[in-house]
Symmetry: C2
Subunit: 219 residues, 2 copies
């Protein structure tokens, strides 16, 4: 064992685990319909700690989590979403516009936990290693952590929805974080009202899944 | 069961699975030291299919995978890395420069499988839903898919290393992909020579892990 009580021998993951892992990947959904009962704050802290096991460029650990609990701030963010969503609807016409208007694209109305996630572009960690030619890898590190958190949450029966229909500059101002923090995602978290194997946008006729072989080239 | 033979009832993930999942998160490493024996191409295809179970903004599925097998192209990409890495070394001085020069930051020398991953900024899927205010969410969708692939690979005992010390524009040209594809990552994949619980950059004294509580704010 290592000092922190972790096994020091590499684990071997068997077929049963791998099959269950595949089920976790399949059943991870972008959840927009939440129950209002609370999620224990220690569980949220644990999910954030788990997210931090993700890779980051140069071990820069640029992820910053803002727990948005203030009802006034939540209301302002919801207005921000509604304005951005109304503008987005204006991009469509005819049947697509009608369909867009029926979609539920956020869980801001009910999600008991709401986290804004940022990338600290001036992170004091990692000395810039690995991000010189691609500074966007800092943001990418944060995204990997969000995907890890998403899976860990689903394994606990907790749903997570990523809201991107927001003005990122305004989010930084509303939440009074340093302007060197880049807004990455607004996460709604809570117990899901319902569970589905298929994505909401497939189920409601917006966009089917494509054949993966279309996306592979050889060079 | 659904038509494709998947269980249609939501799975419940028990404590034993969740503990093993946590071990997977802990033992997922950025691998740079590979054995040269091949990885079955059907396994690579399976890992890419698994990656495509990840969320994408508007179900846009912007991930594009380029399997780089041609030795000439691999050599050109390795030169690209070496130039970018020499420039990066120039940013450091004194002890940091000495330490940087000792680090192994890529597995391009031996990795039997090498995948370049792109985001199709003109993806025909998803009709732009969700990415109007944050077009970068297309790239983020690809990053989530890479993190999923990384975990699925580690569960199979396969190592993956993400090389970012490259000129992204040149990669697009070297691999002759559409210039509307944004370069996201170059992945080295293969059997790892060694397994570690701690990140390579921690082990070699570059950057320790920080306390996660530093990264959480309340608003």
């Amino acid at each position: 064992m290592t000092r922190d009580g972790q096994p020091s021998q590499p684990p071997v993951f068997d077929v049963a685990f791998r099959d269950e892992l595949k089920q976790l990947f399949r059943w991870r959904r972008d959840v927009r319909r939440f129950r209002t009962d609370p999620v224990d704050s220690s569980l949220i802290k644990e999910l954030i700690s788990t997210a931090a096991l993700s890779p980051s460029v140069g071990n820069s650990q640029p992820w910053r989590f803002v727990n948005v609990a203030d009802p006034n701030r939540r209301a302002i963010i919801r207005e921000n979403f509604e304005r951005a969503n109304a503008s987005a609807l204006g991009d469509f016409s005819g049947e697509r516009a009608k369909l867009y208007a029926t979609l539920k694209l956020d869980g801001l109305d009910k999600a008991p936990v709401q986290l804004a996630v940022f990338s600290d572009t001036q992170t004091p960690h990692g000395y810039g290693l690995g991000s010189r030619t691609m500074p966007e890898t800092l943001a990418y590190s944060v995204v990997g952590a969000i995907q890890t958190m998403w899976l860990a949450a689903r394994a606990r029966g907790i749903g997570l929805g990523w809201v991107s229909i927001l003005n990122p500059t305004e989010l930084t101002q509303i939440l009074k974080v340093p302007n060197t923090w880049q807004f990455i995602a607004y996460l709604c978290i809570g117990h899901p009202e319902e569970e589905h194997l298929d994505p909401e946008l497939v189920r409601h006729g917006w966009q089917d899944r494509a054949d993966i072989s279309e996306f592979i080239l050889n060079r």
